[in-house]
């Protein structure tokens, strides 16, 4: 039994990789390699998104309906797919926002417990 499109979103859990991808797509449509580059640039190389994980995460986001792509999922000739663009959906924005808020709450707790200085947040 495999994960499929009919699986309820309840089984979906957002990994850091997925969150990074959604953040990248928030500005507009991008292809996979551009996502890889942006994550590397934005995190100063701290987070590396190797192609295997990148596309596994994109697959899960596609399945959960958080990301869309125009090209068919299983094209006739696989080499057509090299520059497939990915777009964030309305649910995707919603999910990314939820995740950001969740992280924000966690940061708030850390600050209230003096684990983190508020000035560091800038």
């Amino acid at each position: 039994m495999s994960l499929s499109k009919s699986d309820p979103p309840a089984e979906f859990s957002m990994t850091p990789a997925m969150f990074h991808i959604l953040l990248c797509l928030a500005d507009g449509e991008k292809h996979g390699y551009a996502i890889m580059q942006e994550v590397d640039r934005r995190t100063d190389g701290e987070v590396q998104l190797p192609p295997g994980t990148l596309y596994r995460s994109l697959q899960k986001l596609l399945e959960a309906g958080l990301v869309l792509t125009d090209a068919p999922a299983e094209p006739a000739a696989s080499h057509d797919t090299r520059r497939r663009g990915y777009r964030i959906t309305r649910q995707g924005r919603q999910a990314a926002g939820d995740e950001a808020r969740r992280l924000g709450r966690l940061v708030g707790i850390a600050v209230s417990k003096n684990l983190l200085d508020r000035s560091e947040l800038a």
Binding site: Y33, P51, G52, Y55, R56, P75, T81
Partner: protein
Amino acid sequence: MARSILGRTLEPPAVLLLHLLLGLCPGRYRRPFRAEVIEGFRLRFQDLLRDRGMRAAVRFAASTVFDLSSVAWGLHAENLSAFRRHIGNLRRSLTMQELIRDVRFGGRLFVRNPLLTVLMVATLALGIGVNATLYSGLKPFLLDDPPFPGGERMVRIFPRSLRDGEFASSVSYPNFKDFREQAKSFDGMVLSQLYRATFRGGDRSEIVFGEMVSPDYFQELRIPPAMGRPFDPESSQRVVVISNGLWKSRYGGDPEIIGKIVKVSGQPHTILGVAPKGFLGTEYGLEMDFWVPMTTPEFKAIREGRDFRSCDPPLARLREGVTIAEARQELETISAGLREAYPTEMREETFVPFSAAGAPFPPDHAQQTVTAGVLALGLVALVLLIACANVAGLLVARADARRREVGVRIALGAGRLRLIRQLLTESIMLGVAGGAAGLLLAYVAGRTLWTSLLPPLQYKLAVSFDPDQGVLVYTAVLTLGAALIFGLLPALRSTRGDLISPLKTGGGEAPRNRGHRVPRLRKSLVVLQVAVSTVLLVASALFLRSLNNFLEVDPGFRTQGLLLLSIDLEPAQLSAEQGRSIYSDLRERVRAMPGVQGAAWADEQPLDDDGSRIRVFAPGVHDDDRDALLIESYLVGQGYFDTMGIALERGRSFGPQDREDSEPVAVISRRLAERLWPGQSALDRTFRSGGSQGPERRVVGVVGDIKHHLLSERPEGAVYRPLAQIFVSSATLHVLSAAQPRDFIESIRREVARLNPDIPVFNVKSIGQNIAWATWLPRLGARLAAVFGAVATLLASVGLFGVLAHSASRRRREIGIRLAIGATRGNITRLLLRQGMSLVAWGAAAGVLAAIGVSAAARGLLFGVAMIDPSSFGSVLLLVAAVTVAACYWPIHRAVRLDPSKTLRAE
């Protein structure tokens, strides 16, 4: 440099690996994303290689492979029932006992069929052996780090012209000193230069090769002497550190050696230390016997001349954490500062560090070397592929015969995975045996091969071709790869399809409906083999042709009957006057020997491994020093052109009238005359040697052009000045004789000893040895390609033989019927020959196409060979046809001798 090219060549194997891993992923991931994953990897890899260097790119490749493996695993694990089955299988199949059982079972099979086993192991050993041999031969030139502490961080600093981007390979001491003082990127930098000296101790003088080095050489390299102490950078005393080898061979390992005095090229030097065993110096690939610091009075000119480029590119160790790009940046800044401070001496150049791994080729030549190396490795990988195809072919034949066994095991409940594992275990056993035998082959044969292929040099060479850890790893990877290639296909094949009918037919053979056919897989393997050996044969034909072209080149001087021997006057401490009379006395005495037709002195030899150049400045033609031409220079004595057989085209050669106190004269070559005074006579014109301020010389003669370094070089001209006007303390006597040149050596040595016992005779050789040196590289290419081509052809003909023999025995019944109903033996022969020939034709056609590609890739290495050289391609095709007929002979011979009644009765 070599590393970044290697980085680029790493990409295809990494992509191949990713494809394999993607193959392990479930289709729902693999199908939509395969192309994107690969594309993403390649783009990123190239970016990293460009921006952050080899290390980052390789790290990324490794993390991608690891990541994709875990994605593949995760995808499978998500499928819960599959996961459970997987674990179950794993637990069932990974027990040690079963492995032992598999190994035992395989061993029994191999022992039962010893001939087949030996054939397979020998085939693999040959394939793996040639690969390990080549790898161990190339590794020192391409990969090995310098053998000093921190060698993996070492770089060589090459000067590069800002005008044309070309690299030079000599550096001056003052520039080195400024780098050492100003650069922060390095912790350790040394300068050195090969230094030939005469060691005089007791009653004999001998020529020994060592290095003159920067004063804190041993401290900077972090090589403390085994005995005594290193040089004191502040002292200018004449001291010497000798090698462990020299200490043992010349001084019998004398424990009291430190402090003793030895005469080095006539000057007394104190022995300060003995280098540790295994330390051979910093001249790549050569074994040095002593080191002297450049602080002594002899090296004053070198120490002070910023324009005196007389040393090898400095060797430096990058400080921990400093990247080569940062060091490059810093040196660029320092070079700019030096250019500003010394505008005339610095001649618009900058200094660039490159990794010191491998041989110190100038970086613009490194590309060609790496290409040649990778090409050669690719070609021998093809030999291994042929070997694998052979073994796979034999295993397929065996697998067909084992279908019954496999059927029984499946009927008894064995899973397919279990069976494949059994068959793969057998392949790996074969691979390990073949790999071990191949490594042994590489050790024994490789060493002999490489040593015999080394260029003829007067130095002690110190390149080790013994397989080391790296070769071991390389061989292990090859072996496993080979075992998978030749094992997996037959294993998959023999466990696929209808495995029950062999049980019913009772025979060990494949089902009847495909009864007389040789499996297509096996035929394709033969086609592949023929193609590959065609490629290799064409390669060796092209190299042979190129070598032939080299040997036909007229170097412009005699190539036979000339004996060369050098003497060094320095240890005898003579005045120029005395030196000149030694030169002329010796020449007269040699000329008087019976059989000698001519003798002449010169300071340099053409096609030798060194040579010297001077700047030629022609007033009226050149405006300033930057226009002066850098031209090959020879100082020659009377009778030189006659003895060498260099044609005198105009004017005169040097004679007794050219003395130290007479007008300075010169003879130039035709090409130089054309370059300086096109369309006009060069006679009686003057030029200045060394630059616009140099002494003026009048041209008295024009001679033909000769080859100076390589037979493939274009003539750039030469200038000859009389040895009588410029004294040098070491020169070579060229002796022309009709008799064996060797016959004179002893008599000449005796004459030298009679004139002065302190003068050593060295570097005795025939002119043929210089030609051999100049054609060494094409010879090497031709020999290697010939050896590998022969191995490949042998393997391919074994494969073809196997297929035909297999086919003929399968078709016994059919042949019997054909013979019984009236077919002639000629019909049968044609039938089988056609089968063999059609396979060969396909293979040869594919091989020719691939060979054109190889020929194009190797163009830079070939001399005077067209990309599609008809005679090379034609002769290879003829050879392939001949080998095919030979390989077909025996199986066909056996088939047509069948007695039809017996065959049919047996059925």
